[in-house]
């Protein structure tokens, strides 16, 4: 009989994949709210995967940031805009091509990084400890961390610029 964490891994992985598929290709409903709710479920099952990897901090932050804040804003916007049910569209050749290329790129990057890092779930490195994660972020990875924050700032400034009706 396989160990409990293994079973849980398969459960959460299956849930993640299933809900992820249902976000974009739900056969029963085309409502944007349903898609958003399935995205929330995807995020929650992904945080379950993080917890199985002993990355408690990441798992919980995943829920706080994505499920608790970002997706609520998504819902807020969907409800405010009163989006109607989306009509089924024909697939365009260009769209399929672009999708496949970006998917391949993501798979390539993940494989490459996983190969070099080679994580072992049975032998976790830092036990997902908040303190060690913080130390890493503020010593070894300070530059990427700050660059990402600047990126977010740029995005915010850009949004405000786009939203303003006229510039003085």
């Amino acid at each position: 009989m396989p160990a409990l964490p293994d079973i849980l891994f398969y459960v959460f992985a299956a849930l993640t994949l299933l809900c992820g598929v249902l976000v974009v290709a739900n056969p029963l409903s085309r409502s944007p709210v349903t898609s958003a709710m399935f995205l929330v479920l995807t995020i929650i099952s992904m945080s379950g995967l993080f917890v199985l990897l002993h990355a408690f901090f990441l798992g919980i932050v995943q829920i706080i940031v994505y499920a608790g804040a970002v997706m609520v804003l998504f819902l807020f916007v969907i409800m405010l805009l009163d989006l109607k049910e989306e009509a089924r569209r024909k697939f365009k050749f260009f769209g399929i091509g672009a999708g496949l290329i970006s998917f391949a790129a993501i798979v390539f990057i993940m494989l490459k990084s996983l190969k070099s890092a080679a994580p072992d779930a049975n032998n976790p490195v830092g036990d997902g400890d908040t303190a060690s994660l913080g130390k890493l972020l503020f010593t070894q990875y300070t530059l990427p961390f700050e660059v990402v924050s600047v990126l977010l700032l740029v995005a915010m400034v850009g949004v405000i610029l786009l939203c303003k009706k006229k510039l003085e």
């Binding site: 709710m37 807020f76 409800m79």
Partner: protein, 355 residues
């Protein structure tokens, strides 16, 4: 598999959930009684089982106190017609009350409600990211309200849902920022460790009073309690997000609101008022395996502190008028967020100078 662990965990879960449910039922009674006293009224004083009038002094006294009112209320909720209006979005309409209740009940899992009885720590799950866990779960609670507003497919619940989503996100940020000084001072995310720190160094409300004020006001906003009860504002939105609900589904929203109150009171007690510890009579150290009395005393202290904050929640409801929505946003984003940031800075500088 450690059967001992499983059995004790199940017992703890059963007890805690039962106690929280009881607290919810009786805080509804407390709400009605306190509101009555504040408004020069009597409050519920009739409901009683038939044999009560034969008990000489105690029976009428308990009846006048309204002790049996929650039982009658519960019974009424069960037997009311569960009406589903035409034109609602069925799945979400049925799902929303459950989504509202579950996070509210889950939050109490990480709160240490006592030190130790025998070898058992009086906490269901002693996570080393306890605070973050509560924040994560609380932030999921908003889905119940938003979905209820969306599912009802009518104007007022919709407004309630929209208001709630914006309000929750705004105040979650202030709330999260407000406890960072606490984490800086203690240096740990584990709630048991935070209480242990307070039992030796004194309550954190003395170290971080501004944090406490922001946290308290934000938790009023997070639980949709009165100065910030815009999602259900009776006078403008009829009942807000639960306008279209009836019977047990409506009761579940009430259950969620009051469970959230219990959870945030427990968080306030744990983070700022020393949890189960009292700074005198030697009540401030963890009870050893032998001292059963001390362990029980700790639980009672915790419950007493919790009840104090519950009464505060209720008292405030009957004292303040509701904020306007722009005032709410102004308070959250332009007053509390900068204040919380400055508070973090001051605490960090103070800690740096002290070290």
């Amino acid at each position: 598999m450690d059967w001992n662990f499983i059995i004790f965990s199940l017992v703890k879960i059963a007890v805690v959930v039962g106690v929280v449910q009881g607290m919810v039922a009786y805080s509804v009674l407390a709400e009605r009684k306190i509101s009555a006293w504040i408004q020069d009224r009597v409050g519920p004083n009739r409901a009683a089982p038939p044999f009560m009038k034969y008990i000489p002094v105690l029976g009428p006294f308990l009846t006048r106190l309204g002790i049996f009112q929650p039982l009658a209320d519960g019974l009424k909720f069960m037997f009311k017609e569960d009406f589903t209006p035409a034109g609602v979005r069925q799945i979400y309409f049925w799902l929303a009350p459950a989504i509202a209740v579950v996070p509210a009940m889950l939050t109490v899992a990480v709160i240490p409600f006592g030190s130790q009885i025998g070898n058992q720590h009086m906490v269901i799950a002693d996570l080393n990211i306890g605070i973050l866990y509560t924040f994560g779960i609380v932030s999921l609670g908003v889905y119940g309200i938003v979905l209820a507003g969306y599912a009802a497919n009518s104007k007022y619940p919709f407004f309630g849902g929209i208001r709630s989503s914006a309000q929750m996100i705004s105040y979650e940020i202030s709330m999260g920022m407000s406890i960072i000084p606490v984490l800086l001072i203690v240096g740990n995310l584990n709630l048991s460790q935070i209480i242990n720190w307070q039992s030796t160094h004194g309550w954190l409300v003395m170290y971080a009073p501004i944090s406490f004020v922001i946290f308290m006001v934000a938790s009023f906003a997070e639980t949709n309690r009165t100065p910030f009860d815009l999602p259900e504002a009776e006078t403008e939105l009829v009942g807000g997000y639960h306008t279209e609900y009836s019977s047990m589904k409506f009761a579940l929203f009430f259950l969620a609101e009051y469970s959230n109150m219990v959870a945030s009171s427990a968080m306030m007690v744990t983070l700022f008022f020393g949890g189960w510890s009292l700074p005198f009579f030697g009540l401030d150290h963890v009870a050893g395996p032998g001292s059963l009395g001390l362990g029980i005393a700790h639980i009672l202290i915790f419950v007493a502190k919790l009840l104090f904050f519950m009464v505060l929640f209720i008292w405030v409801r009957w004292m303040f008028p509701r904020f306007r929505y722009d005032q709410l946003m102004d308070l959250g984003w332009r007053r509390f967020l900068p204040l919380a940031l400055v508070n973090i800075l001051i605490t960090a500088v103070w800690l740096y100078l002290r070290s």
